[in-house]
Symmetry: C2
Subunit: 364 residues, 2 copies
Amino acid sequence: LGRYLVLAAARRGLKTFVVDPSAQAPALKLADQARAVSFTDRSVLEEMARTCDVVTFESESVPVQALEILAQLGCTVLPGTRSLGIAQDRILEKTFLAQLGIPVAPWCAIEQASDFPKAIGLLERGAILKTAREGYDGKGQARVDSLQTLESAWHSFGQVPCVLEVCIDFVQEASVLAARDTGGKVALHQPIENRHHRHVLDVSMVPAQIGPAASKAMEEIAHRIVCDLEHVGVLAVEFFLLPDGEVLVNEIAPRPHNSGHITLENPVSQFEQHLRCILGFPVHPEFSTKGSAVMVNLLGDHWKGTDEPDWGCLSSEPQAFLHLYGKELRAGRKMGHITLVGSNAEDLLRRTLELRKQIFLDND
Amino acid sequence: LGRYLVLAAARRGLKTFVVDPSAQAPALKLADQARAVSFTDRSVLEEMARTCDVVTFESESVPVQALEILAQLGCTVLPGTRSLGIAQDRILEKTFLAQLGIPVAPWCAIEQASDFPKAIGLLERGAILKTAREGYDGKGQARVDSLQTLESAWHSFGQVPCVLEVCIDFVQEASVLAARDTGGKVALHQPIENRHHRHVLDVSMVPAQIGPAASKAMEEIAHRIVCDLEHVGVLAVEFFLLPDGEVLVNEIAPRPHNSGHITLENPVSQFEQHLRCILGFPVHPEFSTKGSAVMVNLLGDHWKGTDEPDWGCLSSEPQAFLHLYGKELRAGRKMGHITLVGSNAEDLLRRTLELRKQIFLDND
């Protein structure tokens, strides 16, 4: 995500100053100035404040405190810290959604052992314990169905604050990207249907194979969230779709989103849109993808047992767009993606999955 | 052009090694490895050959000799040297086009004083003397209409080989981008209408306001040229359109072209297309721009007398795409461009020009 933000900035002739604690972060390599240090390194934050007109982030792992220091030093920090602070903490996030009357899976906070009794009703329906902070892609999550398994999971997480959620028998997952500019104008990207594999995003497609009422409900919810948070920039809302057509919010990502990579072949990508907003320009009114598009992720796992992916297979699909992020290979890591753009989403899906299978010699 | 090639490569996770004699070249800043040295620096060429799988170029100023050294060192150099060698020399270029029977303005070569007599017929019709090598954007060109003015112009050019061309009373100018892959497949971008201001590209638009017969003739010519040259990658052919609908080739640019910046908001930009071809992937079959688009260049001249362009004006056109190249300001230099995408080219043209006027406080 950071790398694509830097690339979008470069188109505008903007110079970038990137901070990431990991020296291998792909965005660092393309930045005009790159610092592989902790987000809270005071001297680098001071340097950043002296150098940069606007500061943004592309990960919830950036501490709110770092952004507050930058703001104190006179930097324009967009989006502000409100949406980040809420998205970093599942308890705050679910409380915020409850206050807006936005439906989520039944849940309760588990902050101390005395919270266990109120969990009984949820446990009976099958539930999932998630650490309130710092979990992503299924990390810091455990299925629990009894007080015993709850207690043991909570202990394995180090007794940190958690949320317990009922496991939802959803039929589909989708995300809506919402971009809001400093003038308060909002542009929405239509729902993107997402399919996960072992908790990691596997496939995204537009249009989502979802009825108009559910689509409209999701768009309205995303609109309310981005406005209520006074978020400036792109924000993604992840949804569960229930068998009866009801939609529940899964979580909020206060930044461009992996599913939004499907916009990279559009005139207005999520990164272009994010930049417009944080630079004080109006959001581009046409954010939705025209026609159909399917994106499949390439995960570190796909490389397993493959000496070298057979990229030559791409020749069988001249219309495919290959993206690789320049990351070091690791299992479970998102290494890149392939997008096919066309008119029939089901056909594109079949072809894109087939292509991935060929590239990785059926190691799919 | 180099900067956008690097950006397109970065999307694919490719690493880039950029050589440019000018330390300020915008592509150098984004490259993984950057060398601000002469194109013929032997030790850097050797380093490049050790480091790179494929080498390409984005300017006719790269000496053929440098590419030949790289090829000798075992590098894949695409496009090869044939189209470059021809495009670097107006005499070779016009001879090549004549051999293919492709119409150009009446011309003759002026290589020595004894060539003057054969120029008389052309001079009577009003002609332009151009140095055979190293002219661009109107540099190395002079209007001549008599043996006397011809002789004085030729002397002012240092008596280097030149071509003398009849001045064409064209009604329009256009360019066709042709991309050809290693398998010989070609994808064409429909004609882009170009308007120049003082010999520098000012405005490009699609669709060109040109009839179907002339459009088809231009596409056929571009197709023949790219095939006959066995060019791999993107190549642009610049055309003059005569009042009677006839088309003449002005010149060949064996690389992505400034007018092709209009493709940057498309799924397949000219840079993506160029990369596909030189990497050995098939050319994307859909190269033409859908709908309408207008691009206006921002030249160094526009900044004159403006303390700071009023970029805030962009707020009046939320659909505009601003591109700045990160170059040092200089009169006549292409500093960036603005593109508007929509359905009515005339309307887009009016709005884009108006926008530029506002940004530069009527200093247009």
